[in-house]
Symmetry: C2
Subunit: 370 residues, 2 copies
DNA sequence: CTGTTAGCGCCTTCAC
DNA sequence: GTGAAGGCGCTAACAG
């Protein structure tokens, strides 16, 4: 009997060929959709494939062709709504072009990021989208490794100094600046910066702060710079007491905001760089018995439907999450399909959604100048 | 010159063998971690591999062994925080056992679900975790297809009638019942059900409603049953006017809740089965000028950090999202690794997080009986 | 213990 | 146009 079944009802191309009474190559050509084959034989092959329930083995195909039609994605945390949104953009855009995605979370751990890169290299993905926790010179060996093996890499959400790659990011610095400018325009001069680069103790100087920032997450540093930009433009001196310190967890944000609220010359506005910073700040406000926006104004990053139904509705920065992912996938796929990498920063614009959490400070600013 | 480089600096096992001066099989054995090989040669091979920067080609390995160490996941929407959380559980649990995950979104579209199943079959994943939109008898061909090809399938979040598989779900019916009981215990009898099975017009009878439910998403039906259970126990007659109709989008929830609020005998409590139903309801409350919990009480599904900082803090049902995913992955991996499928429903318990959005109804219930 | 040999399922020259 | 034969990189029997 010809056509010995391989296993578990998975017919191979040879079996289809046998069933159709043609050579393997002919079957392969019609089923693979390449090369010429007469309409007649093509029909026979198709019928046989149909009958046997043939499905091409993508693994075998990848082995021969060298392309897997799979993209690798490395993010901090797939469970984080921000990355989930980005992931959706990536997924939609790549699916539209016939690619699937393998996702790995690193939880901001560089070792895990390296391991993830290796997994993707081993599984022969055609390209990698990376939201990296790496920043410095020494931290890019894994990126180099992928590149050296001919796997293109595109950065998303976070640029990485010291490696010259396409990166798709949002205008963090500008967004932060605009938000803080909005606060300043409302009359605020004591503006807290919640959730920056983690530090053990208050930075002695601006310089020290910036240095800490560049040793940590790229986005945090950018947002901090935007905050500083706005302060500088308004000639408001930088006060180290107004930046959050310690670990980036909601409880810590609550504690730090409480501290800023208890300052003799307390904060009258808060700029929060992440969702959990916002909720942490809100908690602190509540326990302090202070109300927003009457006593303190607030603007935060990462708009959500919740922010719109809060009391008061919150003024927030909306990031184009889906687009961020989609654009990254497109840039990457262009390269995968042969385009020359442009090696540039693709910056997407965020949007300040104005609602009702910003108002003038309660009393006229401390000392109105000279 | 021996050891002709394959391409882009990707040494093969043969090149490593040549470099080490041993046979291919010996190199394969040490690098693949199977079979015996003398410490001496092993060292030589390892050194050569190190030197060449060898990394095994997982694709080739999969072709030989038939296992890909990859799990497929099919969900409605990877961008949805609920599924993102589930995904994180899946990812963590499978990573811990050496498996990676390929995720596909269906957006509740059955055709996409079928296509996704085919992709996963073609890519030879070792198992599939599926949150299916399928319900009826005819909708399970794609599940059968995977099973027939020897790929185990585990259902997550949503059970599917007419197919006998392991399923990991939460206690939807019980959770809903407890929530509604809580409302009833506070004195409510006019309780709105927000976000049920989509219907074009009000169901004439309970029976019609239940029928609609069983034609739609499993979770929705279960939550509806829980609602009805609680009503029945309290001998509160079912009122079709108190269930939401139309498409499941936030705006529609807002409209429907507004309608229930405008009823002559208006609703005094709301039970919302999803996050967007909660925010939609909150919007309606605001525009109606009604306040929670003074005028209407509210309990919703899917707790989030936002719910805790709302005014008032919301009483919500917390689903064990991470555990849901992790458990599904574990059940699946057990099967992948040879265990016999138990083909049972694994039900995880949710938790009612009591905060401050439930209070007695504003005025004594309409007509206190006889 | 080690090396030789034969596949896994597909694609891809290359003669026919 | 079509079929035979070789190869992708690895595992797995099998002799030695």
């Amino acid at each position: 009997m010809p056509g010995e079944r391989s296993q578990a009802g998975r017919p191979t191309i040879s079996e289809v060929a046998a069933e159709a009474g043609v050579g393997r190559a002919t079957a392969a050509r019609t089923l693979g959709g390449y090369g010429y084959v007469s309409p007649e034989l093509r029909e026979r092959v198709l019928a046989a494939a149909e009958k046997l329930g043939y499905r091409a083995n993508a693994l075998a195909r990848s082995m021969s062709t060298g392309v897997s039609h799979t993209l690798g994605v490395i993010v901090a945390d797939i469970g984080n709504p921000f990355f989930a949104g980005v992931m959706r953009g990536i997924s939609d855009a790549s699916r539209a072009r016939g690619f699937d995605t393998l996702v790995l979370s690193t939880y901001e751990n560089l070792d895990d990021e390296v391991a993830a890169a290796n997994v993707l290299i081993d599984k022969r993905v055609d390209g990698v989208i990376l939201a990296s926790a790496a920043v410095g010179r020494g931290d890019v060996a894994h990126i180099r490794a992928a590149l050296d093996r001919g796997i293109p890499v595109v950065l998303v959400d976070r640029a990485v100094a010291s490696v010259d790659l396409d990166a798709v990011v949002i205008d963090n610095r500008d967004a932060a600046r605009r938000a803080v400018e909005t606060l300043i325009a409302a009359g605020h001069r004591r503006i807290g910066f919640v959730w920056g680069p983690p530090m053990a103790e208050p930075p002695a100087t601006r310089r020290a702060l910036l240095a800490a920032a560049s040793r940590n997450l790229w986005t945090d540093g950018e947002r901090l710079r935007g905050y500083l930009d706005a302060l500088d433009d308004a000639r408001i001196p930088f006060d180290p007491d107004l930046v959050m310190m310690g670990r980036k967890v909601e409880e810590q944000a609550t504690r730090e905001v409480a501290r800023m609220l208890a300052l003799p010359d307390r904060v009258t506005a808060l700029f929060c760089t992440e969702t959990d910073a916002v909720t942490g700040a809100l908690r602190a406000l509540r326990t302090s018995g202070l109300s927003c926006p009457r006593d303190v104004s607030l603007i935060g990053f990462d708009d959500s439907t919740w922010a719109a139904v809060m009391e008061p509705p919150l003024t927030m920065i909306e990031q184009p999450v889906h687009q961020l992912g989609a654009k990254a996938a497109e840039v990457l796929l262009d390269i995968v399909e042969g385009a020359e990498p442009r090696r540039e920063m693709h910056t997407l614009r965020s949007r300040l959604v104005t609602r009702s959490s910003v108002a003038p400070p309660p009393s006229p600013p401390p000392s109105p100048g000279a």
